[in-house]
Symmetry: C2
Amino acid sequence: METMTKNVSVEKSKTSKISEVDFNNLSFGSVYTDHMLVCDFVNGAWQTPKVVPYQPITLEPSAKIFHYGQSIFEGMKAYKDENGDAWLFRPLENFKRLNKSAKRLAIPELPEAYFMEGLTTLLQVEKDWIPQNPGSSLYVRPFILASGTGFHASPADEYKFIIACAPSGAYFSGKVKVLIEENYSRAANGGVGYAKAGGNYAGQFYPTQLAIEKGYNQVIWTDDNTHEYIEEAGAMNIFVRINDTLITGPTSDRILDGITRKSILEIAEDQGIATEVRKITVSEVVEAAKNGSLKEMFGAGTAAVVSPIAGFGYQGTDYELPELDNSYATQLKTYITDIQYNRTEDKFGWRYPVE
Amino acid sequence: METMTKNVSVEKSKTSKISEVDFNNLSFGSVYTDHMLVCDFVNGAWQTPKVVPYQPITLEPSAKIFHYGQSIFEGMKAYKDENGDAWLFRPLENFKRLNKSAKRLAIPELPEAYFMEGLTTLLQVEKDWIPQNPGSSLYVRPFILASGTGFHASPADEYKFIIACAPSGAYFSGKVKVLIEENYSRAANGGVGYAKAGGNYAGQFYPTQLAIEKGYNQVIWTDDNTHEYIEEAGAMNIFVRINDTLITGPTSDRILDGITRKSILEIAEDQGIATEVRKITVSEVVEAAKNGSLKEMFGAGTAAVVSPIAGFGYQGTDYELPELDNSYATQLKTYITDIQYNRTEDKFGWRYPVE
């Protein structure tokens, strides 16, 4: 059966896998829904998006995605409220960032209608897959890959924009212990660090494995030149609370302009928390940990939401963070998830109905 | 029909596309041979490599190659001499570098026998595809991609090692005009610049497009911190001749350890050309261009071989390089290709028979 919603056609799957999924024990991003959105760039133009049954992707061995890492992605979540209504959180921000990433990776920019109608059409079809369990949501992964072929290191002439969805639980279980990186780096000045480019992630795997072997969960990346400035955590932006001030680094061409990051900043300011957006040095964080003024650190990102950091390692020393009764992390996470799950007034206009 | 050569099985294609190819008008890397090598990493181990008919690759939408850029590659060429015998050039160097890249990208390292026997078995099967025309060769592209799935930013648990081949002509036609980059960067200190990681290439496309729009062919990358040091050209290492000394930058974690680069250095030293491996500043190159001591610049890489540079742009000014009767570029290119095509004695032991 094929139906058409404005620009998006829908071909329904004949069967559903939903009954096989244990929604009470969801890991992160490892089971996928029955459908996906596919939109091809061929002959110089993005073609009509289609919702189709979730299915493998077939590409030539010479497809540029395999050789030159020409791919970008976004991460979003769909939430279901107590009435069974479904919501997205600031999806236009994801769309804008996707096109920022596209430009930097020499991928043709996508029309807004294709992204937004494709997204909402897919989510209407997959509405039953949006979990209602506390802490769970439907993780939504828009991505673009270079399907055009050739062993010449130059942009592809064909691309695929796809949205796939995975009902998901927490990205991290429990508090996170991080290692402040002194040798490896995530991004160069003038590089692609601000883009959600695939290659930014693969480059983090090995240093992160080394950190995991030492007992940490994640690396806190520092600038590649001096390793003196705290940048981000790869899958999260970083916030530091010194005394009662909440500090995060400024975005740059090395640091991702996180949607959760900027939402947290707005909420904090609205709630009367003093915030500073400025460069953070490793030495001030170490000093603050030593003198007790370092109250909290947490990561912020779509996948990890607000992820409290239990402690950090630096130059062979581990620093513990205190357990707070009324942490900013808890306060901010509660508020942002209350907006996301439609449990509170949406004073910022961030909630977006899936309808 | 399936045969077995030591570790590698061979399934022959029923038909051949070779009669459709015009070997007198080959572009670079855009037509592919009848077979490819495939070797899967599953259940914690690399499986037996297979030569199979050239065919599309089918992957799950959640395959990590699409999301996290976890891929690496190598570039090699197979050459045919006047007797019809086929040769590779220092293939073990490609194997070693593939595994260096694999380690940095958290990809399981490949056994040497699988690489070398896979490569030679494939090339025996494809021997008729190795061009005998002057300046042409069979471009050989080994690559590894993350086929394992998941929307969690962590290394895949499954991979595909593939070798595909493309009979190819010159990478650049004629002399190359380059732009010395002042804003964008290719690699970070402590990053993956020394690896042949897919993501290193996609990040160059947009700045290269901007350079092409200004009338240049390639970007010369500079260090991301000061943009004062000349690094490499993305698809080539860079050599600069000032007076009669041939200079190239030292390899680092930002610069690819090019096999053509180090071969050129050995040949130059053997031929009595004074060489220096040291950091090269943009200002000394500009100064040398102004005072006439800059005699030559050229790129060196497997695809581009030795690619003379006609001139460079920097800060809005174009600098022309002189036309030399007896350039180092010509002398070195002649000698290295004479080794590659078995037209001269192989005093360095670099030629490797396909047998």
